[in-house]
Symmetry: C2
Subunit: 214 residues, 2 copies
């Protein structure tokens, strides 16, 4: 009962991902996406309310894809420590498998114009974040680490540290070396060991392995 679409949403977002990976968020202009996808600008504006909306969609689709896989990995392990190690590895593995989307994610929502997003897009982003941080919170609880600083360290070990390895290698057009997963898992494990063990243990400063040399 209507003309069939030649350019669906995903196709256009794919083009946007390629542009973002190559030229950064600033390179994702309506004109550039249209050209990259071979579509007229009218088709773009037919699907997205404007540039903000397109930026929001491309960011959210990408980050949600990553978060889905990340949550799946976390859920696939019973032992908390093992789940953590697998999650850290997974960040690298996913990045290796999706280099363009990763380059996009190395920016932040702010670079994709979060300020100008609709309420709907904002809360979609919020939901995704809460989901992952919820998982990390409960993982921290399982590990007996309940205060803010401990959750922060867990996040550092399972998200930020892997991401910084990925960032260093992918920035300026490089690729991930073969040993990246191993380095990340190893380092994440070391960081997990700085967490206070369960049982209300005092902070790992003076007792643990970290500060013996002071």
């Amino acid at each position: 009962m209507a003309r069939p679409p030649r350019f669906d949403t995903d196709q256009l977002l794919d083009a946007a991902v390629r542009l973002a990976a190559s030229f950064g968020p600033a390179g994702v202009t309506m004109a550039a996406v249209a050209k990259e996808a071979g579509a007229p600008s009218g088709s773009l504006y037919h699907r997205f309310a404007g540039r903000s909306a397109l930026l929001a969609e491309v960011w959210l689709r990408t980050v949600e894809r990553f978060q889905d896989s990340y949550a799946r990995v976390l859920a696939a392990h019973d032992d908390a420590r093992e789940a953590g190690r697998a999650a850290a590895r997974h960040v690298v593995a996913w990045s290796r498998a999706h280099p363009e989307e990763t380059r996009l994610l190395l920016y932040g929502p702010g670079d994709f114009g979060r300020e100008g997003w609709s309420q709907e897009h904002r809360s979609r982003a919020e939901r995704g974040n809460r989901r992952i941080f919820g998982e990390l919170d409960s993982l921290a609880a399982t590990l007996g680490a309940r205060d803010t600083e401990a959750v922060e360290r867990l996040t550092l070990a399972l998200v930020d540290l892997p991401l910084s390895v990925v960032r260093r290698h992918l920035r300026e057009g490089g690729t991930l070396p073969a040993h990246a997963e191993a380095v990340v898992e190893d380092c994440a494990t070391a960081l997990l060991d700085t967490l206070p063990r369960s049982g209300g243990h005092v902070r790992p400063g003076s007792g643990g392995r970290a500060r013996n040399r002071d």
Copy 2:
């Protein structure tokens, strides 16, 4: 023997830093910098060959300021391990003291149009990098870690890990919590402990490296 300048280079770059911190590299337009500094666009083009040159200058001035202080900290310690811990702390301390410049540095040279830089600017960037990586290389050598992967781990501990803590907190307009230095030093120390000790010693951990599992 000439009209005295009302707007010197540093003043204009200061304005560019503020804009980059608030709006990202894309917000650093010649028009915006002129307005922010209260200068006419003519003055801008009088000092910078064009937008690329201004972006290069603002990036290089900022990164060199950071690198200077970083190198100074590394040189201030005799013990390699202590130097490493101090360096990691310093990344956080410097970021706390210079939040706007830090927000700028959380982007990369690529975001500041490195492709379009003059040869002079490129080699200035190259020189700065070589300087720091040279220091890190010799630090690694002192610690008895000579292969690429070991240097990579050292970089991770002394640069990337502190930066990722800074990034998480400064992104989206936050500030660094009081305990950030402590967390970073603690985690950096843990990572330093994963380095192979001099003499080919295996690391004192869970009995082997993660890589063995492959």
